[in-house]
Structures are given as C-alpha cells and as structure tokens.
Symmetry: C2
Subunit: 247 residues, 2 copies
C-alpha cells in the first residue's frame, strides 16, 4: 500500500534557508524508508537560483526568438543561458536540453510561484547534490534517513498535460530494472524497466494543491526502493543524447 | 492524502470473462469517488485482443524490419498491423503511433504475461470504451460508481525507464487545467496543465508487484477529479499529430 501525505506549513523560502530544519519544523517527521518529495522551486529559492528580469540584457538570438514567439527577450535570454541545446522553437514553445541533460519546456525556467513579480526560478544547478544535502540535513537533525526526490512538472512529446518527474534524488533507486527477469509465465520481462523516482514524483503531485504553497509530500510504501546509500540519483534517468531518437 | 492499495486475487483472464464480477469477487469493493486502475492486459485478454504467432504470415516489410532489428518477422507484422505510422526503427527499437494515436514501443504489442508461449497481447481496440463498460459493470453489480483507468507502461523520448500512463479512462477528469488561473502570488499559472489520469496510472504502478498476477490497484483521495459522467476519456491526453513537434 502506497500512502502520499501532503506537508502543509512550509513558509516562503529565502536564499540560505535551512530546508531540513524548516521541513521538520513544519511537523513533517519523515521516517526511515519514506520518500520526501519536494518541488524544485523550494530548493532553487534556498540556493538562490532565481533571476530578476530587470538584471538581464538579452542578446541578439534571444531578441530574435522573442519577436518570433511573442515572449519577453530577457526571459528568452535566461532560457538560452540554461540550455545546452534548443531542440524546438515552434508555436511559441521553446523546448531545450538543459545543461543537466533534461529535455523540457523553457529549460525549466518558470515565472509561476516565483515569489516576486519580475523573478524567474531556474532549476537547481545540481539537483542530485541538492537532494543528497537535504537528505543529510534531515538525517543530521532528526536521526531518520528518508529518501529525497526533487520534482518538476515536465510536458511530454506526444501527450497533453504534464507529469511530475524526478530531477534529483538521493536514497531512492531511480530505476527498477526487471529486464531479463521472468514474468508469472516464466517469460522474460524484456521491456520492464520502471522509472520509480518519476512515478514517485507523479504520485506526490496528486496529493498537492497547486494554489497553496504546499510544495512537499511524503510517500510511504516504497521501502523496497529506498537505499541506505544515496544511489545514482536522477542523473540515471537521463537518456544521453547519443541514444536519443528524437532530437 | 492519496492511498493506493493493490488488489490481489484476480484470476488469469480468458476471453469473455466478466471483469466487473471478477474484480468484485476478488474482494476489491471500490467505492464512489475512488479510482480503479487496471493493467490493459486484463482488458485485452477479456476482449480477445491477443494473437498467436503461429497464425501470422509476415509480409515483405515485416520481414525486412525483422532482419534489420533481429526480431521475429511475425511479431513485427503484428506491430505493423497495430501501427498507423512507424516513427522510428533504430537500434532494435520500433516506435510507432498506434491507430488510437498513442506513441509507444512496438505499438503496445507485448509478449510478457501473455498467458501462453507464442501469444502476443495487443492494446484494447477502444480503451476508453473498455473503461466505460467496466465502470458500468461495476456500477450495475455493486451500486458504486468508481472511476476506471486502463494503464500501460510507456517509455519516454528523453528519459530512461517507463512510467505507467492512462490509455483509457472513464469517470476521471484526465487533465486538470490550471492555465490562466492565478498562483499563490496572483501570477497566472501559464503552463500548469496536469495529466491527472497519467499520474494516477503511475501511482498505481508503484503499488503493484510485477511478478505477481496482481494487475489492479484502487486509489482513494482523487475524489475532486472523479466525475459523475464518464468524461472525455484518455483520448483527451493524446497530442494530435498536427501539434507534434517530434515526428
């Protein structure tokens, strides 16, 4: 049985805030074997990964794309700065591969729930490291060692709407590899390679209320995927460009 | 709070089986406002959507693709029969758009847990109709009217591993559209368009044990997305080819 409980009461986050402390102060009390799923914006704000639009001077490419797509050229410049490669820029949509290797709209740059009118929130620079640090902080303060997942909402190439995925994780096996193991008939389960961390992020999103400031949920029931060490992180979920059939 | 409970005890399904009856006989007792998530294989088997390899005569294209990718030409023929369009056939992978519009590996044709050595399981012909029929059957027999989601595991273009998605649904709003609604700062939540049915399928998969024959889970806590009528179904999740940036 999987249980996902939202954690209300986290305050608006400022640069340098001690997230582990604030999470425990909110009364969350995650236990060993549980998974703490945190919206990336909380992490980014604590790490100072935000940009004020007024501080940005757009370059030539950003200005051209902004005219083409009806965007603010300064916001486009921020997207370009966060991108290793722009895969598509059509119909007002910029789809980029970030420096981490994530393929998503606007390289993960987001204006919603940014905390100020002209502010953009970027993805954390190294979300797996952020997850490891938060896990260590929770362990240090509470003695418990839950897994940590950092989530963002990504669109999908061929489906409408967004699902939350794991952009960082620590202490959760991101993938459960059944390839080569037999099914109930003794057949090889050739294709079964389950993105556990992404499904955990999706399950956590179902428990959250988008309009509230509740950017956190705790999942129990995934104990079999929780690791004593931090594991490979969400980096293991990134399909490298060399295997990419849809550039 | 979201709770996902697996439902054990469903027998191996044969053509014509009364799924609603078998689900209730298994002691599942889903209530109004809950979501019953069923693996598509159960539906396909009940609907006779299986193919014996020995009955298939592969054509020229199937034989050529089979040689190129090291597959069984008969299985490739079945994949082609289920495909409206083959998007990629590289490195042993056939990625197709099915007649329903789903983009997935092998057009959803699967040999695992098929119930017999040489049998392939196809996707249901109209999974939204299958979901509506199952919902009506549950309502008729139990008086309760839970939502129904039919799930399959899909790979993703830029990420390793698979997540379960909704290929059919009835009584669950497949998408929760927050576009244009304000966030906690009063900002417009421009991009927020949540694929609720896909996230429900993913959450259900976390509760299942792949080696068992337990192809079913029940989710509570999604009452706000459960509809009295059947709603638009999972067809609403399909991005039409005209909007597809990644053909």
């Amino acid at each position: 049985v999987i249980v996902v409980r939202p954690v209300p009461g986290l305050p608006e986050i400022a640069v340098g805030d001690d997230l582990a402390g604030l999470i425990l102060d909110a009364g969350a009390a995650p236990r060993d074997g549980e998974v703490v799923v945190v919206c990336h914006k909380v992490i980014s704000k604590a790490e100072g990964r935000t940009v004020e639009l007024s501080s940005v001077s757009p370059g030539e490419r950003a200005r051209a794309l902004a005219i083409e797509h009806g965007h603010d050229a300064r916001a486009v410049q921020v997207v370009l700065d966060e991108s290793a490669e722009l895969l598509r820029s059509e119909r007002g949509v910029l789809i980029a591969r970030t420096h981490h290797g994530f393929v998503c709209a606007n390289a993960g740059v987001d204006a919603s729930n940014a905390g100020a009118e002209d502010r953009l929130v970027l993805l954390p620079r190294d979300p797996d490291r952020s997850a490891r640090e938060l896990r260590a902080g929770l362990r240090h303060r509470s003695g418990s060692s839950p897994a940590v997942v950092i989530a963002d909402s990504f669109g999908r190439a061929w489906r409408h709407g967004q699902c939350d995925v794991a952009i960082g994780c620590a202490g959760l096996a991101p993938l459960d590899d059944w390839r080569g193991r037999p099914d109930a008939d003794g057949h090889e389960l050739r294709a079964t390679w389950i993105a556990v961390a992404d499904q955990a992020a999706a399950a956590a999103d179902l428990a959250r209320d988008k309009t509230s400031r509740d950017p956190m949920a705790i999942i129990s029931g995934l104990e079999r995927h929780v690791l004593p060490d931090d594991g490979p992180g969400a980096a293991a979920l990134v399909r490298p460009p060399s295997e990419d059939l849809f550039r």
